[in-house]
């Protein structure tokens, strides 16, 4: 049993070992290149362990964690995202003269937390994963705070994220406590049986569930818990923003969906109502807020609010259609969104460093004529975000439509169409700005020498966007097997 357990937990064990190795190496020799290389290597090693895990699935690793196809998919996604962030971070912090090595330790612990979160099957591991990620992120967001000349407002963003995140994790924890007090168990899959034993649903339980939903909604930046998103996205260093937009969202989404489906909470009327309201408002608010935004990082922040709103539509649909299709749709949309966001932030990161970030719309004017490759990547991302055919975003939107139509969520579909129409405007606006003739070259982000790591991330993610858009069938097949977990 224990040998199986070790294989099962191999990814997590490997991540832990890599973290310790990175930390120990830092203690003996501070070398930015070495440490970042070790980090990428360690993450790769952890990623590759899935080869060994796959054959023994699914297996519960104690009551806390469950490793199945579904959680393995999300952990792999998370680790890929972390590799991308590490590749972006190296050139970004290259001119940051304060010690950089701790960043990679924090990146590793945050990734570990995200993986634990994605695998958790119990509120204790849920708490630990969420907070491991959260605590690491507080420090990562505020990381360049020492620099005499830092690109943005890391301190402001760090404090904002810390206070608001601690506030909501307090709320989540209290919710968990209420649920636990009512049913007497904290394992996700024991909830339905315990509920049955408890008889009718008490309001304590409902309020507890809603408080947990609020905590998840905060991390997923859904209205009305979205308000931190733009400020933190803007103030954090770009690689960290990329982490927030991809890894943190994917991990939280994975566990939320599992919790909702496994505990049957999605079938509660209150929960669907609350989620429906959140989805509708997120779609509209997110798109409206992004409309005339002049800062690209904030624009992505607002658009992420809208996209998570879209995603929520598929989750809500799970109440009426077979959970398998919903899991498939959510996973695909998350994958698509993950790839698009990472690619988009890689573009900003490629143009920026820790002393100067090029994130104003004006910086992108005429970028196409100065650096066609980078702007072609961004155009691909924007078209995909807008849901143009032959991109990953289109297939994702298609899932929303199919699931929405099948479960007759006409109201949400209307919101989706309105939101997409508004969205098209600001995505095309950015493309238009990039295609305008360049005016002066004084403020020229393309003059910054483009780093190799960022190129690799951009190339890989763009290829993924197009591949998923043109030939999604193999990925869809893979995702269909994920649903066997439920």
């Amino acid at each position: 049993m224990y040998s199986n357990l070790i294989i099962d937990l191999m990814q997590i064990i490997m991540l832990t070992i890599s973290t310790v190795v990175v930390m120990m190496t830092t203690a003996f020799k501070r070398d930015h290149g070495l440490i970042s290389g070790l980090t990428v290597f360690g993450l790769f090693a952890s990623l590759l362990t899935f080869v060994f895990i796959q054959p023994v699935l699914p297996l519960e690793a104690t009551q806390l964690l469950i490793i199945d196809e579904y959680s393995l998919f999300f952990s792999n996604l998370i680790i890929v995202g972390a590799i991308g962030v590490a590749l972006l971070a190296y050139p970004y912090f290259q001119n940051h003269n304060v010690q950089n090595e701790e960043f990679y330790i924090l990146l590793m612990t945050a990734t570990l937390g995200a993986v634990v979160l994605a695998c958790s099957n119990h509120f204790v591991s849920f708490l630990l994963g969420m907070e491991m990620m959260g605590v690491s992120l507080y420090a990562m967001i505020a990381y360049p705070v020492h620099a005499a000349k830092s690109a943005k407002f890391p301190l402001e963003a760090g404090v904002k994220y810390l206070i608001l995140s601690a506030l909501t994790s307090g709320i989540t924890l209290f919710g968990i406590a209420l649920v636990y007090a009512y049913i007497g168990t904290m394992g996700f899959d024991e909830i339905p049986a315990a509920l049955e034993a408890a008889g009718e649903l008490g309001p304590v339980f409902l309020i507890g569930v809603l408080m947990i939903v609020a905590g998840a909604a905060f991390k997923l930046s859904l209205v009305p818990f979205h308000i931190w998103t733009p400020d933190v996205y803007e103030g954090a260093p770009v690689p960290v923003t990329a982490f927030l937009a991809t890894v943190s969202k994917a991990a939280m989404l994975a566990v939320t969906l599992r919790l909702l489906l496994v505990s049957n909470a999605i079938e509660l009327n209150v929960v669907t109502t609350v989620l429906t309201v959140m989805a509708a408002v997120s779609i509209i608010f997110g798109n409206l807020l992004a409309l005339l935004q002049e800062n690209v990082k904030r624009l992505f922040a607002y658009s992420s609010i809208a996209h998570l709103g879209y995603l929520l539509v598929i989750i809500i649909a799970a109440a009426k259609i077979p959970g398998a299709l919903s899991v498939e749709g959510v996973s695909f949309y998350m994958l698509a969104y993950f790839v698009m966001s990472l690619s988009g932030f890689a573009v900003i990161s490629a143009l920026s460093n820790s002393e100067k970030e090029y994130d104003q719309l004006a910086d992108f004017r005429g970028l196409f004529w100065r650096n066609s490759w980078v702007s072609a990547v961004l155009i691909t991302v924007l078209l995909s975000l807008a849901g143009i055919p032959l991109t990953a975003g289109f297939i994702g939107k298609f899932y929303i439509f199919t699931t929405g139509v099948e479960s007759e969520l006409w109201f949400l579909l209307t919101m989706l169409i309105i939101g997409s129409a508004i969205g098209l405007y600001y995505y095309l606006r950015l493309i238009y700005i990039m295609l305008q003739p360049a005016e002066d070259d004084a403020n020229d982000p393309a003059a910054v020498s483009l780093p190799l790591g960022a190129h690799a991330v951009m190339a890989a993610m763009t290829a993924a966007i197009i591949y998923l858009g043109v030939y999604p069938a193999p990925m869809i097949d893979t995702l269909q097997s994920l649903a066997s977990a439920f």
């Binding site: 904002k160 309020i207 409309l291 005339l292 749709g329």
Partner: protein
């Protein structure tokens, strides 16, 4: 060999990728080899696949490359479908496309954006092949939009001249109007038949729809909208002459041989639906008839050599529509093929003349060129004879089939026949006017033929096609319903052949003999009015002005806060206003943020207690 079919559209796409991903850094020779070679290779595979298709004696062949997506019950595949019609189209696109590409390596040589030109051209060919080989509506629409995009890019190829950009946009917007109709049509078809597969949709429609029913009429009308836009028929024809702003090989490939015939292909492909909506089918014929006459008259008044050819294209496509309207499906496709040969020949020869005249396109500044430009003269004459349907030339066989069917058609086909006959006269008249003005008369400019194997070689092959393509038998029997053989009386046949020749004589009489002073005739009184009427495409521009622009400006005048406008502006303003209100919530103040989260929690908890 049939399983090589997928290579046919893929090879041009690979050519496009190579040319694009090298960012124009490829030397001209290499770019030319990749650009033209990919189409040549594609033609070879098309030929191989096609000959084994014909040898196999099957009516159709599908090849699924991969399943694009299967979400829920719906499955959409990247599937190619080959039957007689798509086979003909595939041959025309790759074969004539290849010749035009070879010609273009000579014509465009020295252009700084040589590689960009060929990358667009390759993308176009690939998209066009996907359009004709598509097995389902989604793929067809993708190809349809793809060729539209390439057409836009290529018309505006010399983007430094703002006028070219304007022409490109005009073409894009006008075809877009048609595309919007077509998209709705395709969607309606999909919803009512429940399948995206074209053949299945046809069968479903045949089984479900009643002849002349509302849904059949609506779908066919909407599809007709798309076809009319793409094929430059009334009332969306005005973009094609402007599209001549692009380089001449583009005009030959896209705006004569292939893309503009996509509308004809679309209607032929969905002919089952049109049989279920006879009124709309007749409307197709009427549109064709009016367009062919109108364009013929307009061609007579043009002075730009490419514009004359452009209007003649509009006119010839009118013939194809006429054929579709009277149910001569295979004749339409037949004429499409022969037209591709002689019109490509005419355009490319015109390109040679333009090169020889140092980019002069005004036919009144040419004249007497038959001595200087021996090659061009001979080739242009062959092309002209094909165009006017001179007996023995390719156009003769196809056009005669169309007219014969129209004549025998009992449901109002006779009027269409008369229009077609009159159009044939006009064809002689404007074609020979062009020919005589360019090659006869007083010599005003010296021209020097630009020679080269890659210029004259394709032209000679096209000329051979323009002569002999009429003898090709197109393998479309299994696709279209059987047509009874038409044997018009000898008198009728003689009339059909001889009457139009009067137009040629008239042209000779006027432009060679100089018996009539055309300038004087067109310069004053009734003649001037007529000339203006013809020149403005029977007043189409004027009509647009009266029907659309004037009422619009009038409405705008009457109502300063114009109603329609205020809907658009108002909603835009409302959205902006909402944006500003929302932005106010992002105050940047941490305390307010915390309070908003607390309020969110309160909202949730209250909801939880109440529900």
């Amino acid at each position: 060999m049939l399983d090589l079919l997928w290579l046919v559209p893929v090879i041009p796409f690979i050519g496009f990728l190579i040319l694009t991903l090298t960012f124009g850094k490829l030397p001209q020779l290499a770019a030319g080899i990749v650009g033209a070679g990919s189409i040549g290779l594609s033609f070879v595979f098309a030929f191989l696949a096609g000959s084994s298709f014909l040898g196999a004696e099957i009516s159709s062949y599908s090849q699924t490359l991969w399943t694009w997506m299967s979400v829920g019950d719906l499955e959409v595949g990247f599937t190619l479908y080959l039957d007689g019609v798509s086979l003909v189209m595939m041959y025309v696109i790759t074969g004539i496309g290849f010749l035009i590409h070879v010609y273009a390596t000579g014509y465009m040589s020295g252009d700084p954006s040589f590689a960009r030109f060929f990358s667009y051209m390759n993308l176009f060919v690939s998209a066009m092949l996907i359009l004709v080989l598509a097995d389902n509506l989604a793929l067809l629409f993708m190809g349809w939009e793809g060729v539209g995009l390439c057409s836009y890019l290529l018309i505006g190829f010399w983007y430094k001249d703002p006028n070219n950009g304007y022409c490109a946009r005009k073409a894009f917007v006008m075809t877009r109007v048609g595309d919007a109709f077509m998209a709705i049509g395709l969607f309606t078809l999909f919803v009512s038949t429940g399948t995206l597969n074209i053949q299945e949709a046809m069968l479903e429609a045949e089984a479900q729809w009643v002849v002349g029913s509302g849904v059949a009429t609506a779908v066919t009308l909407l599809l007709l909208g798309g076809a009319v836009g793409k094929s430059a028929q009334l009332p969306l024809q005005t973009w094609l002459p402007d599209a001549m702003a692009g380089p001449t090989p583009i005009s030959a490939l896209i705006h004569a041989a292939t893309m503009v015939t996509a509308g004809v292909y679309l209607i032929a492909r969905t002919h089952v639906l049109y049989l279920l909506a006879p009124e709309v089918q007749y409307l197709v014929g009427v549109i064709g008839a009016i367009t062919l006459l109108m364009a013929g008259f307009t061609a007579l008044t043009q002075s730009d050599i490419k514009k004359v050819l452009a209007f003649s294209t509009v006119s010839q496509i009118g013939y194809m529509f006429l054929a579709l309207g009277v149910g001569a499906w295979s004749s339409a496709i037949f004429h499409l093929m022969t037209h591709a040969f002689f019109k490509a020949l005419l355009f490319l020869t015109a390109g040679s003349i333009i090169l020889a005249m140092h980019h002069e396109q005004d036919i009144f500044k040419m004249g007497g060129l038959r001595k200087d430009l021996r090659w061009s003269h001979a080739l242009f004459l062959i092309g002209t004879l094909g165009l006017v349907a001179f007996p023995g030339f390719s156009g003769f066989f196809s056009k005669e089939e169309i007219l014969a069917t129209a004549m025998e058609n009992h449901d109002g086909g006779y009027i269409l026949y008369l229009a077609g006959l009159l159009g044939a006269v006009m064809t002689y008249l404007y074609s020979f006017r062009l020919y005589f003005l360019v090659f006869y008369g007083k010599k005003t400019h010296d021209g020097h033929e630009v020679m080269g194997l890659h210029l004259q070689g394709p032209l000679v092959l096209l000329a051979i096609g323009a002569v002999f393509a009429g003898f090709i038998h197109i393998p479309v029997e299994g696709v279209f319903p059987e047509m009874e053989e038409h044997h018009p009386s000898v008198m009728a046949q003689a009339a059909m052949i001889l009457l139009p020749m009067l137009g040629g004589l008239l042209a000779w009489w006027v432009f060679v003999k100089g018996k009539v002073d055309t300038e004087k005739l067109a310069g004053q009184g009734f003649g001037a009015k007529l000339h203006r009427f013809w020149f403005t495409q029977w007043g189409m521009d004027w009509l647009y002005d009266k029907i659309i622009v004037t009422p619009y400006t009038w409405l705008a005048e009457v109502n300063k806060n114009d109603f329609i406008d205020s809907i658009y502006n108002g909603s835009a303003r409302a959205v902006r206003f909402c944006h500003e209100v929302m932005s106010e919530t992002q105050t940047g103040e941490l305390r307010w943020y915390a309070i908003s989260i607390a309020y969110g929690l309160l909202l949730l908890v209250v909801l939880g207690v109440l529900l």
